[in-house]
Amino acid sequence: MTTEHVTHDRPDIDKHVDPGPDRAQYGLAALLALIGVWTVVDSAGLGPGFADQVVRPGAFGYVIGSALVVLAVLLAVATARGSRAEGEGGEDVDLDVSTDWRTLAGLAGVLVATIALIDWLGWAVVGALLFAGAATVLGNRHWVRNLVLGAVLSVTSWYGFYVGLGIPIPAGVLDGIL
């Protein structure tokens, strides 16, 4: 369908060429169906429960799991019929630019590194790296200053939690120094 053929009673649509179905939504539908099927399978594997348990442990799982599968089908149908998702707006969000996958990959890397290192190096070190890494990935290239800021934040928050709030975050590799 080209724009010339679009009638003028829908002026909001004919500004752009029809971009076709939002294919990524099929992926979401598949994921929902997977979670739904898994929930049903998991519920089927449960025992009947205690003698006085009127609502069986599997009951809610069956209902919710099958609902997810139904919703996944409905979403796939809606997608095929041209239903598009409205991305969420916000003060700092510019929905006209396409998704910046490089920044996202960078942040994902920072988070994975945090998960891998946090038990070993402790919060004071990993927190500083997390802040500096995220700020650098997000576009602030003064990485030395980011690292200093991150270290100040993480050490302050460690002492704040440990001393101020009585929440004993393990010191990790800095045990004995902090």
């Binding site: 990524a24 979401l28 929902l32 739904g36 929930t39 519920s43 449960l46 025992g47 429960g49 205690f50 006085d52 348990q53 609502v55 442990p57 809610f60 799982g61 919710i64 799991g65 997810l68 919703l71 979403l75 239903s83 998702a85 991305g87 707006g89 916000g90 003060e91 700092d92 969000v93 510019d94 929905l95 630019v97 998704t99 910046d100 996958w101 920044t103 996202l104 942040l107 988070l111 945090t114 998960i115 946090i118 038990d119 919060w123 927190g127 997390l130 802040f131 995220a134 700020a135 990935v137 997000l138 576009g139 602030n140 991150g150 993480s154 928050s157 939690f161 709030l165 929440i167 975050i169």
Partner: protein, 509 residues
């Protein structure tokens, strides 16, 4: 009741509690002003901080954050014209026009004083209503609670948001997360992982969806051109502005409170209604609408804050959260072993009355602190975005890690953060998921209790009159849109978003 309230004031004005109220109000306003952070995210991020603070102090702080966040959001929408919270979309219509016309100080003043008036009246109504409602619901049994929770779940899913399908997807995902754990005696969806046996901590889910999801989403679409911020001095109003503001404040309050108190009322509808009412009643000032009419800021802002007070009625008296912030506050109360609802008024009267009194304190603090501090808040809008979002990720990871001090929670945080990103990408509303996680397990508990007493007889579910009424309401809620669509000559009910869009077009052209 007066006596109980006075005792509450005595406790709320104790130095320690007063300090928490000030901290809450300052934090709430700051994060309300900061782009990307809303009150729900702030309360979620602060949950771990409160593990070792007394429940009343924590709740006082959260109440301050809630009220402060509502107010801060209006500052952003007036000075920046890109409202962060859906409840301040309407305020931006006239507020930003006023600011551009050199009347930012008056716009901020009418928003601040209107919020104070609405918040105070709303709190009076809350104090009058909540104990009464609690007295009514205390006699209700499990069947009625089951029905009420079902209503709350369906209402937050169907009434708000532009797509019901996406609302239900979000709800189902939330309920699935709520299944994880061994509450029924058997391990459900735990993947044989002992770390999941206690279920997924609501703190981790809330922080991930609100904070990590938002940070990732903004990072992927970061606005490269800086926004235009209108400079502002100290807010003030002259005689004429007062004369034009006070009626809209009262009318806005009258719209806001009832909508907030209803399940799934929210703040969008009353702010919208308040705006169109003020425009209709503006008389000779009507021509100013679209160019910066003070009535168009005063009314919606009052409605916004009155609805915040209203949402505390179902939260405290029945234990039903109807906004994202209320849902997170409910999670906080549960982590203290407090069960909001009628029992709370009987078991913890001191806590309840201290909280209610502290709402007045928070409201007054907001007015006293925010009028002189407005230029400072405006400067917060200039914070470098890499630091802002790196800071959000930093505190999110800290919050998740401090739950159990294990990497596993940070991994869950990242996983649900990815889900939060996907939800923003696919237009899935956040509220049904959060309410689903919190109410899902309680729904199951009430059902089990109701059927246990009747030994499995399903008719017990409609054995109480309140339950029957609630089911009728649910049926009306689900069937009304279908019936309206089938009626000849009608296109079906207009969606609120479309109406707001149409209004924006009309006003801006």
């Amino acid at each position: 009741m007066i006596h109980a309230l006075l005792t509450g004031f005595g406790s709320a004005l104790a130095p320690e509690n007063l300090l928490f109220a000030v901290v809450g109000v300052l934090l709430g306003t700051a994060v309300g002003v900061l782009p990307g952070i809303g009150p729900a995210m702030t309360v979620a991020l602060l949950l771990p901080v409160t593990y070792n603070v007394s429940p009343s102090a924590a709740l006082i702080m959260f109440a301050g954050i809630y009220y402060g966040g509502m107010y801060g959001g209006s500052t952003t929408s007036i000075l920046l014209n890109t409202p962060g919270e859906s409840s301040s979309v309407i305020t931006a219509l006239e507020g930003n026009k006023m600011a551009k016309g050199g009347r930012a100080a008056q716009a901020l003043a009418t928003a601040a004083i209107g919020s104070f008036v609405a918040g105070t009246i709303g709190t009076v109504l809350l104090i009058a209503l909540a104990p009464t409602v609690a007295e009514w619901v205390v006699v209700l049994g499990a069947p009625s609670y089951f029905a009420l929770m079902l209503l709350a779940l369906l209402a937050v899913t169907t009434v708000l948001g532009s797509s019901k399908l996406r609302g239900f997807i979000s709800l189902a995902l939330g309920l699935t997360i709520g299944l994880v754990g061994t509450t029924t005696g058997q391990a459900r969806l735990t993947f044989d992982n002992p770390l999941l046996a206690d279920g997924i901590d609501i703190v981790v889910v809330a922080v991930a969806i609100f904070a990590v999801g938002e940070a990732l989403w903004v990072a992927a679409h970061l606005r490269r051109r800086p926004l235009e911020i209108i400079p502002v001095g100290r807010p003030w109003m002259d005689r004429t502005d007062w004369g034009r503001s006070w009626k809209p404040w009262l009318r806005g309050t009258a719209y806001g409170f009832p909508f907030g108190a209803l399940p799934a009322g929210g703040a969008e509808m009353p702010t919208f209604l308040s705006y169109i009412t003020e425009r209709r009643l503006a008389g000779r000032h009507r021509a100013e609408f679209g160019k910066g009419a003070i009535e168009g800021v005063a009314g919606p802002e009052a409605a916004n804050n009155a609805s915040a007070a209203g949402t505390l009625v179902p939260l405290l008296a029945i234990g039903l959260p109807t906004t994202a912030t209320a849902a997170v506050i409910l999670a906080a109360m549960q982590s203290y072993g407090l069960q909001p609802g009628p029992q709370l008024f009987e078991a913890e009267p001191e806590l309840v009355w201290t909280l209610l009194a502290s709402l007045f304190v928070a409201n007054t603090l907001l007015l006293v602190i925010n009028l002189p501090l407005a230029p400072v808040w405006a400067r917060l809008l200039r914070i470098p975005r890499p630091y802002l979002y790196a800071g959000i990720l930093f505190f999110a990871v800290l919050g998740a890690y401090s739950v159990n001090f294990q990497w596993f929670d940070v991994a869950l945080l990242s996983l649900f953060g990815a889900l939060g990103f996907a939800m923003r990408r696919f237009g899935l509303p956040v509220l049904p998921l959060i309410v689903g996680v919190i109410l899902g397990p309680r729904l199951e508990e009430q059902l089990a209790q109701a059927l246990q007493l009747s030994q499995g007889d399903v008719s017990a579910l409609w054995s109480e009159p309140v339950a029957v009424i609630v089911y009728v309401v649910i049926a009306a809620l689900l069937l009304a849109p279908i019936v309206l669509r089938l009626m000849p000559g009608r296109q079906g009910p207009e969606r609120l978003e479309d109406q707001v869009d149409a209004l924006e077009e009309e006003v801006r052209s």
